[in-house]
């Protein structure tokens, strides 16, 4: 008590006036806060968080790696297309309609096409953005500071997801449009309206595809305490989807519908075996994306399931219109989006239930 009065007495009058004014300023600012309505505030906080997430990522060193990765995909995909296209046409392997879209699908001898590169590397973009989204904040000690602010906790994870999705969308569109525009200059191909629409839809698919991996990475970053663990877990899932799902699908399909016997039953099983394998493969977002992308980019793809010769009889051999192609991949689009949202929902729930303590 004695200490209290002594210090107050010690403070000079000038200093006190100054400080009182400052305190008053601050108090009045506080009153201003409350003037904002609740809904408006919610949106405002989300915007601030989104801005911070985006700025933080762009300023981080990871951004350099990220740009390099995207540039590699773009350049090698483009190189493959330009070097492979002429030869492919000369050999008669490629139909000459929708040539502009071939820029994204044609591969050279050893270099895969842009589309397959994207199917393979797209997950990396998502994982890159999200594998330490929550746990780095936790280990840095910023998360508990953040949750003690007047905001809803879900705004944190939503803003992280949206910021990640935004940056990957910018990257995907930048690289896709770059290939398109440089392709126009170097090859002299003029894209038609339909080609541009197809390219746009394809790039949207890419964004949703990377969004799925982003959601997956955020899920692991919520569940795992260390960023390294969550990165490894993400890569494990990615490898599983890219490689092992197709192996397993084949094994399971063969076990359910054996085709090796050479008897009548094996012949009957052939169709079922193929459908079963296909459907199992489609569990993997990797396959889902690859199938949808090739359908959208190639109007010549008329069907994605097994069809009998009877079903094909009388069909006119021509390209599908954009609407029909979309109809074919509509389940893929909804499936991918649903997968993305489901995974994000799991991470959302687990984040909301977590107790946030200091490091």
């Amino acid at each position: 008590m004695g200490k209290t009065s002594a210090q107050t007495m010690g403070a000079g009058t000038d200093a006190r006036t100054e400080n009182t004014r400052r305190v008053e300023d601050i108090r009045m600012g506080g009153a201003g806060n409350q003037a904002k309505t609740n809904g408006n505030r919610r949106y405002h906080v989300l915007k601030v968080l989104f801005r911070k997430e985006t700025a933080e990522f762009i300023n981080s060193r990871r951004m350099i790696l990220f740009v390099v990765l995207t540039a590699l995909i773009t350049v090698s995909g483009f190189y493959a297309a330009v070097s492979g296209l002429a030869e492919s046409i000369k050999n008669g392997n490629t139909a000459t309609d929708f040539l502009f879209l071939k820029l994204f699908t044609v591969s050279a001898n050893s270099i895969p096409s842009y589309n397959s590169l994207m199917a393979l590397m797209g997950p990396f973009i998502g994982i890159f953005m999200g594998f330490d989204a929550i746990n780095s904040e936790r280990t840095e000690g910023t998360l508990n500071r953040l949750v003690s602010q007047p905001l809803y906790r879900d705004q944190i994870i939503i803003s992280k997801f949206l910021a990640g999705l935004f940056i990957s969308a910018v990257m995907v569109f930048a690289s896709g449009l770059l290939i398109g525009s440089v392709g126009v200059i170097t090859t002299g191909l003029i894209p038609t309206g339909e080609e541009i629409a197809r390219l746009f839809i394809y790039l949207c698919f890419c964004v949703i595809y990377t969004g799925f991996w982003l959601a997956m990475a955020i899920l692991f970053s919520t569940v795992c305490r260390h960023a390294a663990t969550s990165a490894l877990a993400c890569i494990a899932v990615w490898l599983f989807c890219a490689i092992f799902v197709s192996l397993l699908a084949g094994i399971i399909a063969d076990a359910l519908y054996p085709v090796g016997g050479g008897d009548m039953q094996a012949m009957l099983n052939e169709m079922k075996n193929y459908s079963c394998e296909l459907n199992l493969n489609r569990i993997s977002p990797y396959y889902l994306f690859a199938e949808a992308a090739s359908t959208v980019l190639n109007p010549g793809v008329r069907t994605i399931n097994a069809v009998t010769i009877a079903q094909l009889s009388g069909a006119i051999s021509s390209n599908l219109s954009l609407g029909q192609s979309l109809l074919l991949v509509w389940p893929h689009l909804t499936g991918l989006a649903a997968l993305m949202l489901a995974v994000f929902a799991i991470s959302y729930v687990s984040f909301m239930r977590q107790e946030i303590r200091s490091r």
Binding site: K3, T4, Q7, T8, A11, R16, T17, N19, T20, R21, R22, V23, E24, D25, I26, R27, M28, G29, G30, A31, G32, N33, Q34, A35, K36, T37, N40, R41, H44, V45, V48, L49, K52, A55, E56, N59, S60, E140, G141, T142, N144, R145, V147, S148, Q149, P150, L151, Y152, E355, I356, R357, S358, R359
Partner: protein, 370 residues
Amino acid sequence: MGASVKKEFSGEKQLSGEELSQKEISEKGEKAEKAAVEPMAVMERERVPQDKNSDDIVVIHTESLTKTYGDLTAVDHLNLEIRKGEVFGLLGPNGAGKTTTTLMLLGLTEPDEGKAMIQGLDCTRNALEVKKAVGYLPDNVGFYGTMTGRENLRFMGRINGLDGKELEERIDSLLERVGMTQAADKKTSTYSRGMRQRLGIADVLMKDPDIIIMDEPTLGIDPEGIRELMWLIRDLAERDGRTILLSSHQLYQVQRVCDRMGIFVKGKMVACGTLEELGQQISRDGVGTVELSVYPDNVSLQRILKEIKGILDIEKNSDMYVIHSAFDIRRALSKKLTEEGYTIMHLRQAGSDLDEIYRKYFEKAGEKVG
């Protein structure tokens, strides 16, 4: 002077805030008017909370607050009352449930039983409103390393709905207040622990909280830093009239800065009160103990000491005598020693020190202090 600033302030507010309610405007006008007529009155109002007797509003209040993790009861039926403008110290060893208590006060953890109220708001149900009024400085506070100190503060200010000139002004004034103006534009990844802690305080003050909760604020800071920090904490309570709850296991610092303190053992608050009250509580339970050191320290001293009435036992550890007695013998002791021509170098009633109070409570609660 105050009035002109205020006018400028409300003018800017009207420009930027689209939805400034009528009530706020009139309130503001009233404030400005008051300040213009009698600027001293405003200052007096600011200083009111220092007078604790006239200001007995309970701002933090818990009622049999309980939290269990499996078999472990982290907080066990805690009843706590903290009044406005008070610095309250929550003392206890690691794992005593201090952090859990602060988390429940912030609505970050749901209590299993009982309730916590801050300014009449339920901390669990009205967490958002509570978080507007309460600033929280976690132990080992962290910042976004890729951003500078100023950018970190700006981000927090924006979350709390500040913007534009008002935001920048507050950042500048707070940086100055915590003495971080020099380092404000360096990346926070380069900051030392003490700097982070000071920036943390500025960060807490960004939203201008009425109540500040600090978790182990002195951990890992050098003595000079601690001294400054303690001064700042007292300043926040005295000059701004903020209520401060700080948890710590570093007793010495806490005893200097707190008005009242509660001692936490295994989730239970075993004692609560001012330093004197705690000391009295303890000395009532046991006999008085005095530490004594005199010059010259010769053989006849022991004999003289034994002549004094009421002494039960004398221990000598190095150059210090520890004398146990049935009642307070300090007066008799000093009189006798002066008569005999000794110079008293040190005479102190043991048990008035928080360390000892703390130890006693732990012994009582069957705990050993490391």
